[in-house]
């Protein structure tokens, strides 16, 4: 079952925290809502769960308009940042909670609790209390609890942010596996971490300042961001102010060849080049600059090169003879690795 936001607006005391969101999550799709705090992504998720009511607009689950339904009639599974496991119940009772509330038959409850715990690898911990579990284990129980009611829609609100980095990457793989085992469940995944979104999501909706900025597959967002915000929030980006000419742009007096079919000549624009697509030495689209800083990151070197007062980042495969601080170097990038963005719309 899919999720559909139909120009959903949420406001508190006249403060708009979600501004006419239009978004569709297809059945079986993993959609990540990615954005900084205060961007409205959690509000959107809570509107689906029924904990905030839109000031205007409708929320659909499948074909059903659920805007006016209380949370307990919506049939969704939800996992939140702090898990909210019931501290007075054992793991098995936590997982059985939703089934008991629905008056499911006892034998069926037992079967489905065992199944959900097995699926999350927590079968051995059924008799424990939440306080006797580690953070990662509590996380798994929270997921098992949400899955036990067999929801068509799973809402995950920053589910990994309370875990340390190592556990987080393990749990990411677990979530991906769970989704392969439950291909019909639609997942709405709220996060501020681009790695989680890029790893897990079929599509990513980038949010900022209560608005949807761009929605697309991870590859689309990475290769063809439509705004400076998306470009800098999903992966790092060099954003250079340029003037559009015929068949190219000019940056700091240098002519650069890029695709200009979608922009008017003479307009001001922002050129976006990913740091790892910038090369050192001669090539097309050359830029001359002074090395201001060199960071060795093991597999790569990152150079910060000052080109006419602008800092350009380049991520290079580990260099045998890295340039020294203050050296003059040439950088280049391929014409089809650069994207032209409208000048300074969001961060102007």
């Amino acid at each position: 079952m899919g999720i559909r936001f139909d120009s959903v607006t949420v406001a508190y005391d006249g403060n708009v925290v979600l501004d006419s969101l239009d978004l569709t999550v297809e059945p079986g799709e993993v959609m990540a809502l990615l954005g900084p705090s205060g961007s409205g992504k959690t509000t959107a998720l809570r509107a689906v769960a029924g904990f905030v009511r839109p000031s205007s607009g409708r929320v659909f689950l499948g074909d059903r308009d659920v805007t006016d339904l209380p949370p307990h009639r919506r049939g969704i599974g939800m996992v939140v940042q702090q898990y909210a496991l019931f501290p007075h119940m054992r793991v098995e009772d936590n997982v059985a909670f939703g089934l008991k509330a629905r008056r499911t038959a006892k034998s069926e409850i037992r079967r489905r609790v065992a199944e959900a715990l097995e699926m999350t690898g927590m079968g051995a911990y059924a008799r424990r209390f939440p306080r006797e579990l580690s953070g990662g284990q509590q996380q798994r129980v929270a997921i098992a609890r949400a899955l036990a009611i067999r929801p068509d829609v799973l809402l995950l609100d920053e589910p990994l942010s309370a875990l340390d980095a190592q556990l987080r990457s393990g749990m990411l793989a677990e979530l991906a596996r769970l989704h392969r085992e439950l291909p019909d469940v639609s997942i709405l995944y709220v996060t501020h971490d681009q790695v989680e979104a890029l790893t897990l999501a079929d599509r990513i909706a980038v949010m900022d300042a209560a608005r949807l900025q761009q929605c697309g597959t991870p590859r689309e967002l990475y290769r063809a961001p439509k705004s400076e915000f998306t470009a800098s929030f999903v992966g790092g980006a060099n954003l250079l102010p340029v003037t559009v000419g015929a068949g190219g742009v000019s940056f700091a007096g240098t002519e650069l060849k890029v695709d200009t079919t979608e922009v008017v000549a003479g307009a001001r624009a922002t050129l976006c080049v990913r740091p790892h697509l910038v090369g050192l030495g001669d090539g097309p689209n050359q830029l001359m600059g002074t090395v201001r800083e060199i960071q060795w990151r093991g597999a790569t070197h990152r150079l910060y090169v000052e080109v006419d007062g602008h800092s350009v980042m380049a991520d290079l495969r580990e260099l045998k003879h890295p340039p020294a601080h203050g050296d003059t170097v040439r950088l280049h990038f391929a014409p089809d690795d650069a994207v032209l963005l409208p000048a300074g719309v969001s961060h102007g």
Partner: protein, 280 residues
């Protein structure tokens, strides 16, 4: 804009656990009805009776009579100054003692904090009972008429009510970041300065809350005064009791009760507003 604000209100009501505001109001009715029947209605009857002299009819006569009596004016004055003085004493003493327990901890400081909790659960008249042995006519200090003066009541009230100030203070102090104190003292600030500039501002809401509670409890205190057995110290609650039970002057008792309630509730309301402003 007006619509947006209205919608926001709707969101507020919804985002809480109960989805229907009307249903929530309905659920609040039974306890309110119980309160009205067993507390508000009797209180209203007291007000009504205060306007009905024994001679019949409805008039201000009971008020005129009571206000004209020397005993009432004396009791009013005694009640107010005793309560104010006791509150001031409790605030100063409670602040000092709580400071030591929280910031100059000694072995057993935890036990002392526990003891305060237990102390709060004992009735007030125990203090007067003990003072009867210490200062009473057959007591340790001997035939000293101290207890029959207002100063005896003041001592008992400060003794009994100081823990009511200490408890919220200790709770507030336990929230205070000790790193802040260490930073202040590492910058060379001396203890009085730290107390004035770091601790006192943090403690103000707790002091206001504790102080308001103690003020009202002192205005309403009955057991301590009753147990002194002294005719010299009469407060408003004592006057209510003696007029109603000993003299069977119900209209008079009701007048004093109304005055007492107005002072207590008025001051309590004022203090709650002030302490909310102070950021409690």
């Amino acid at each position: 804009m007006a619509e947006a604000v209205q919608n926001a209100r709707a969101v507020r009501g919804w985002s809480r656990s109960s989805p229907r505001p009307f249903g929530a109001l309905l659920w609040a009715l039974p306890p309110i009805a119980a309160l009205a029947l067993f507390f508000l209605y009797p209180l209203a009857l007291v007000v009504q009776q205060s306007f009905q002299p024994d001679t019949g009819g409805t008039s201000f006569q009971p008020y005129a009579d009571v206000f004209a009596s020397e005993a009432f004016r004396h009791a009013l004055w005694t009640t107010v100054w005793l309560a104010l003085a006791s509150t001031a004493g409790c605030l100063v003493l409670g602040f000092l003692l709580a400071l030591v327990i929280a910031f100059v901890p000694f072995p057993g400081a935890k036990a002392v904090a526990r003891f305060i909790d237990v102390y709060l659960s004992f009735p007030s008249f125990l203090i007067t009972l003990a003072l009867l042995f210490i200062y009473g006519t057959t007591g340790i200090i001997g035939s000293f008429q101290f207890l029959t003066t207002p100063w005896g009541v003041l001592l008992a009230e400060v003794t009994y009510f100081t823990p009511f100030v200490m408890r919220p203070l200790l709770a507030a102090f336990s929230q205070l970041d000790t790193a802040q104190l260490e930073a202040a003292s590492s910058l060379g600030a001396r203890a009085p300065r730290i107390i004035r500039q770091v601790i006192l501002p943090e403690a103000l809401p707790a002091l206001a809350a504790g102080g308001s509670l103690v003020l009202v409890l002192c205005l309403n205190e009955f057991g301590i005064v009753l147990f002194t057995g002294a005719k010299g110290v009469t407060t408003l609650p004592m006057l209510v009791y003696s007029k109603a039970i000993l003299e069977s002057d119900y209209p008079g008792a009701c007048v004093v009760a109304v005055v007492n309630v107005l002072i207590s509730v008025g001051l309590y309301g004022l203090y709650r507003v002030v302490s909310r402003r102070a950021g409690a």
